[in-house]
Amino acid sequence: MEPAAATGWVTKEMESARAAADFDAVVREYWPRVFRFILVSLRDRNDAESLTQDCFLKAFRAWRNFRGDSSINTWLMRIAVNQLRDHSRNRRLQFWKRTRTAGSTAEWPVADLRSSPEDDAVTKQQVEAVWRAATNLPQQQRTVFLLRFVEDMDLLEIAAATGLKEGTVKTHLFRALQAVREQTGGVR
């Protein structure tokens, strides 16, 4: 083997190793967030698991070309949003549709709320109302709503993650909130 070729090979391997090590840290830090966003979007743990894996596999393949134009979080969320879009396009029997037809029989994950005992019932009812409202939102509105109110992302980040214009994101959020307010407004 030529010395120059050997050096090139070693450098390439070292770069791969460094990229893998960096990506290792990315996985550790962002896996829970991506998993959460997908889980809350789909409300199906198995699907959320495999979609999160797919998402990070895609991310790893693109990792060397990631230039840091957006934050890692936004970049990963964009991949997740695309994965979700493909997933719901491919799968007609998804939870949200089932829930929509099942009506009020769905169970909402509100058991972990740390409310004070006196306002416990009211708060849980209101939180359930938000879950119900989110269930009935059109997919794009729900994605925007979850990125804002679960993932705590701002307008610009959501626009970057969804590929929507900032004004469109704002409109989606406003409509989603109106729907939520209508659902929660009944509880006084």
Binding site: W31, R45, S115, V127, V180, T184
Partner: protein, 157 residues
């Protein structure tokens, strides 16, 4: 601004679109405070429940660690195997040469020790020294064993 906030204004408020007039009204209006507070509480409760639920589900499926499934495995295996070969073969050769030299040294040392002890035994086991026998040194260095040893060493060098 004396009128109460409309539903749309409350949604916009929660989204962070606030005018100074609305802020002034909200500071003094209990009813509008309750309405915005209720929506905000419901949203933060929703967030809290989503985070807790995901954490619980996540707990059952921990973040994947080594072996790293996202790494191109074949490339890594090749690299690792090459690295092992590159470092291990010369290291093993040098180690085994070192090992056989050491083993030979140990065998020779043992032979030397045995010869010495035999010599000592012979000297002290002689029951009584003969009269006027000159005191012999217990150990004579120029022995056959030593000669053999040297010879062995030379052949081994």
């Amino acid at each position: 601004m004396t009128r109460h906030l409309s539903d749309e204004e409350i949604s916009a408020w929660v989204l962070g679109e606030r005018t100074p007039m609305q802020e002034a009204h909200l500071a003094g209006c209990r009813e509008c405070g309750i309405r915005t507070g209720r929506l905000q509480a419901a949203l933060s409760g929703f967030r809290e429940s989503a985070i807790a639920w995901a954490a619980r589900e996540q707990h059952a499926v921990p973040v994947p660690t080594a072996p790293r499934w996202w790494q191109p495995r074949s490339q890594w295996l090749l690299a690792a195997a090459a690295l092992v070969l590159m470092t291990a073969v010369p290291a093993y050769r040098s180690y085994s040469a070192h090992l056989s030299a050491a083993r030979e040294r140990t065998v020779l040392d043992a032979a030397e020790d045995t010869a010495l002890l035999n010599q000592v035994d012979t000297q002290i086991s002689r029951a009584v020294p003969g009269p006027m026998e000159p005191l012999v040194p217990l150990v004579a260095w120029n022995t056959d064993a030593n000669d053999t040893h040297k010879g062995n060493n030379e052949t081994n060098r």
